[in-house]
Amino acid sequence: MSAAAQGVIDAAQWLFLLYFAGLNLVYVALNLSAIRSIGRDSPERAIAALPDYTAGLEPPISIVVPAYNEEQTIVASVRSMLQLDYPVFEIVVVNDGSKDGTLSVLQREFEMRLFPEAYRVALPVKTVNAVYRSTRHPNLRVVDKANGGRSDAMNAGINAARHPLFCAVDADSILQRDSLRRLVRPFMQDRRVVACGGTVRIANGCRVSQGFLESVGMPSSWLARIQIMEYLRAFLYGRLGWSPINALLIISGAFGLFRRQTVIDCGGYSTATIGEDMDLTMRLHLHEVAAGRDYRIVFVADPVCWTEAPETLAVLRSQRVRWQRGLLECLWTHRRLAFKRGCGAAGWLAYPVFVVFEALAPVIEVLGYLFMIGGFALGWVSPAAFAAFALLAVGLGLMLSASALLMEEMTFRLYPRTAHLLALAAAGVVENIGYRQLHTWWRLVGSWKWLLKRPQVWGDMTRKAPSR
């Protein structure tokens, strides 16, 4: 091997090693932060059997549900939302120009009548055709508007919302009956809170009835099981790790609670990005810092929302490509958040970490795989070194998954059977062999599409019937 080639190899090895060490250090740090956060909240959870002193004093909430071609699921979703355990709330469904019978099933099932609403345009949106109100449920309204995408629909719903807090909910989300009570707690405890996200869990394998989760189960699909582990890691130590230092850069669009006026003041949801939930969270940081306010964007680890995960590789691929594009779009659009004065850990820590270990991860990881495999094939990397690195990479991946499982067991213990835990542990192993590499490739494709500015195709999510 020439000296130049050896130099390139040395440099590449340094790069990969430093990146690998940095990535795992970040994960371990997030893990420790999350454990500390769990430890701080555990006494409150332990005394949950005692009376809740704030019951009945919760502020009213507007639930905003954007719906596009949700004819199959919308009725069950709205029914379940109407039964939420919360003192005062309203539901604003936004029919975003659906081509199917979304509006007509809502009109029929909930006896919706045309309502002469003085529609308030606090955020610009596509034409609003009409507002309907249920004669059976006074707290249910439907805003019918021209198609403009999820963000535009959310903005239309925020315009129509009457209460100071609004909750963004996907039309197919399955909510816990007490989800709003849990999510509103940070707002009641701290006036500085402007947004709060909750944990989203995978509903595949669970028993759902009338839009509510009746019992937690384990899906038969390994792809779904792997996603359970992904979500456990992402929410239990990903978000819970960032929350205590006010550095959350994303509140999931599937379920999040926001101060309406603050969101209006920072321009509502952006229609120019496919990562609208992350975009809004980052804009909230920038807006509050610019306004010179002491604010908090927080996360509650309580499992409050359940969603159906894709069980086919094609749909999962489309989702992950879209997520990576959304991530890159948001990081690029809000690059001024990086190292911005006053932005605290969000700008000085979370943003750089997201750029280096999330945005660039697919490129570095794919290069790393190619380097190791190519080097091994060309004889530059010895079999012993190849095996040792593979062992370390898989070992650390497994350790992080096991740590997430431990946190789950320390806190919510949602999976009732020991067999469930073992199945999840097995999914953590399977994930590291094949799936992780495939996932990295999908993310690389997403990055490439973002670079080329190709229009995003959302792809269809194959849904099962709402009641299983």
């Binding site: 555990s42 704030t54 530059w380 499982l405 431990l406 067991e409």
Partner: protein, 355 residues
């Protein structure tokens, strides 16, 4: 530098990578074993809990009903689950049943156990202990509880506040309110519930004293407590606050609570305030306090540039005496401002739907 990767024979670096890889595997196995151990411990706890409920619940029910039988011995591992069960029953019972349960607790030595937990327990044990001392209502525990009031952990200090209010609400109110003003971590709704539980009469004076002489930032925190607790005499205090306030937060919160006609003039003035939050609450207050003479001002507010002011003005207008549906429809038809007309029609429709 990295030649060991291609020629690893005997290199320390490769050994390090191998050791780290193996170590991560060992830690993984350790974590998984801990998961299983936690699951087993949780099962054991559930079994003890079920045993405690089955054994002690009937005895507690009999004690609550006034039966004074001597309780059986309490095994060590059943102490904490029993304390929790005893507290749950105390929270769900009314009247003389408390005394019966307190006698039962004394016979078992639960107050001493609770004192130890309050002073030396971890987070949840400490709260359970404080909760118990509150139900026991022994004035001898006052100093222990007062010393725990400034605890930095809010759930511990709030539990101490509740226990103090349960023992002697009148004596505890000034202490608790001063602690609330000295810290920012007590959620207003939670403290409001504790004060309401304690009884409005007991806390009214302490609250009124503090409402009048605090800076605006503290008045904004105290005013909701006055509403939640419905403290007697709060009406005149709130009128006093409203008359003197200039801070928009204080104005908005006090406008929500003002009820006496003495404030009508001040409310009228605030209908043209620069801040729309204040205007919208002033519109509502005007509807609540005023009569027919306020009609013209509310009609003018229907044309306000802010949606919420128009909405509140329309609601207030329809609540005025003499403004029935027919009159409101005629009024809407005669309005030249489109925004005012649309708003009045919306609120009319809302009223129709509500009937």
């Amino acid at each position: 530098m990295f030649s060991w990767i291609s020629d690893p024979s005997g290199s320390d670096e490769l050994r390090l990578v191998l050791v780290l890889g193996l170590l991560s595997m060992v830690v993984t196995v350790g974590l998984l074993l801990q998961v299983l151990a936690l699951r087993a411990r949780s099962r054991r706890r559930q079994a003890v809990q079920a045993r405690v409920v089955a054994r002690w619940r009937p005895l507690l029910l009999r004690a609550a009903a006034g039966d004074e039988e001597q309780p059986p011995a309490l095994p060590r591992r059943e102490r904490e689950p029993l304390l929790l069960l005893w507290n749950q029953m105390q929270d769900g019972l009314r009247g003389s049943a408390h005394e019966g349960l307190n006698r039962f607790a004394a016979a078992l030595g639960l107050p001493a156990l609770a004192r130890r937990a309050a002073l030396r327990g971890g987070g949840s044990r400490r709260v359970l202990g404080l909760h118990t001392l509150g139900h026991v209502r022994d004035p001898a525990d006052w100093d222990i509880l007062a010393a725990l009031l400034p605890q930095p952990r809010s759930f511990v200090s709030l539990a101490a506040a509740r226990a103090l209010l349960q023992i002697d609400a009148r004596r505890a109110a000034p202490l608790v309110l001063d602690e609330f003003l000295a810290r920012t971590d007590w959620p207003v709704p939670r403290l409001g519930t504790l004060l309401r539980e304690a009884g409005a009469d007991a806390i009214g004076l302490a609250l009124s004293d503090r409402l009048l002489d605090q800076p605006p930032a503290q008045q904004v925190r105290l005013l909701p407590l006055a509403r939640v607790t419905e403290a007697p005499g709060r009406g005149s205090v709130i009128e006093g606050v409203l008359a003197r306030a200039t801070d928009t937060g204080v104005l908005a919160v006090s406008l929500q609570q003002v009820h006496g006609p003495a404030s009508l003039r001040r409310v009228r003035e605030l209908c043209t305030h620069a801040d729309w939050h204040v205007r919208s609450f002033a519109a509502l207050a005007l509807g609540r306090l005023g009569g027919a003479p306020e009609r013209a001002q509310l009609i003018a507010m229907l044309a306000d540039r802010e949606w919420w002011v128009r909405y509140r003005a329309a609601q207030a207008l329809l609540g005025l005496p003499g403004v029935d549906e027919l009159a409101a429809r005629a009024l809407a038809a005669g309005l030249t401002d489109r925004y005012a007309r649309d708003m009045l029609r919306q609120v009319l429709a809302e009223r129709e739907y509500a009937q």
